[in-house]
């Protein structure tokens, strides 16, 4: 079981993680953060393999990946 922890307040909605996720497990949500950006959400937990490409590409260190 993989947990992708997204810090909403760090996220700037650049969508690079959405673009580079090989499984399409992330998407931009309709949730706004305090900075006014639509933040990313971890939508498809079943598809995630824990490759951590999202965390690698994130320019704001908003993503952390854990394995249970």
């Amino acid at each position: 079981m993989i947990t992708v922890k997204i810090d909403d307040e760090r996220c700037k909605g650049c969508s690079l993680c959405v673009e580079f996720c090989p499984k399409g497990a992330l998407s931009i949500s309709d949730r706004l953060n305090m900075k006014g950006y639509f933040v990313v959400s971890f939508a498809d937990e079943k598809e995630c393999t824990g490759c951590a490409t999202c965390a690698l590409i994130c320019p704001d260190v908003a993503i952390e990946v854990f394995k249970n």
């Binding site: 690079l16 950006y37 965390a55 690698l56 994130c58 320019p59 704001d60 394995k67």
Partner: protein, 246 residues
């Protein structure tokens, strides 16, 4: 829970001020990761530039000094000479290193100062609103070259790594890009290698990092990542430009 990817310890909790999709955030994180992995947290000293990267002292949990615009290599030289056992690196942009700081960077490299320069090349003056930099590509549109950079009146893009490669004092020069997962991994390795050259006292080391600036390139973050591959790397070819045996 087992960690697969977590925030490096050498990075403070502060939120980055960079624009969405900016390469600076990735590069800051990679430097912090390398410092953690090489166990340099108590020894590393950073020299911050003027430009978008000037607030790195808010992000790195290591000693950092702010230098006057472009004088990063000169300030780093002074620190390294009085504290030779510390790892000293300057973090500089293209306006900082290749324009106002040309003399300081060039002569520090020529003297073979045992410092590392992390050179972030995004082809524009980011902080002041996207004016032409020495590294701006031919035909590239910026606020000061609204019809594209004309080499006849504005000169040609400067390849800093190639210029420095002819100097005997330099030991490691590599150009990388942070526009893909593989590029980011290569960048991290290049930073670690540059630090290793400094630790082994082989000479001046510099890593040039092609970094996206979506705001001033007037592109989306993903378009700017592709533009590096499709356009920027033609003028600035990636790879090791010079490496002396370490």
């Amino acid at each position: 829970m087992k960690k697969i990817y977590t925030r490096p310890a050498s990075l403070k909790e502060a939120h980055f001020h960079y624009c969405p999709g900016c390469g600076h955030g990735i590069i800051n994180r990679l430097i912090a990761e390398v410092i953690d992995e090489m166990g340099l947290r108590g020894k590393a000293i950073c020299v911050a530039p003027a430009g978008c990267g000037m607030l790195v002292y808010n992000y790195f949990d290591i000693d950092t000094l702010e230098s006057a615009h472009g004088r990063g290599a000169a300030v780093a030289t002074g620190i390294k000479r009085v504290r030779p056992d510390n790892l000293v690196f300057s973090y500089q942009g293209d306006g900082d290193l290749a324009a106002i700081g040309t003399a300081e960077g060039f002569h520090a490299a020529n003297r073979g100062e045992l410092i590392t320069v992390i050179f972030v090349n995004n082809g524009v003056y980011g902080m002041t609103g996207g004016q032409m930099a020495p590294t701006t590509l031919k035909e590239q549109i910026t606020t000061t070259t609204p019809s594209g950079r004309n080499p006849v009146s504005a000169g040609h893009p400067v390849r800093v790594c190639e210029v420095f490669s002819v100097l005997d004092g330099t030991s490691y020069l590599e150009r990388v890009a942070v526009n893909s997962p593989s590029g980011i991994k290569k960048t991290k390795k290049a930073i670690a290698k540059a630090f290793q050259h400094q630790i082994n006292r082989t000479g001046f080391s510099l890593v040039e990092i092609l970094s996206p600036c979506p705001t001033n390139w007037k592109m989306s973050p993903i378009e700017s990542f592709r533009w590096i591959d499709e356009v920027m790397t033609k003028q600035f070819p990636l790879g090791v430009i010079k490496e002396v045996k370490c």
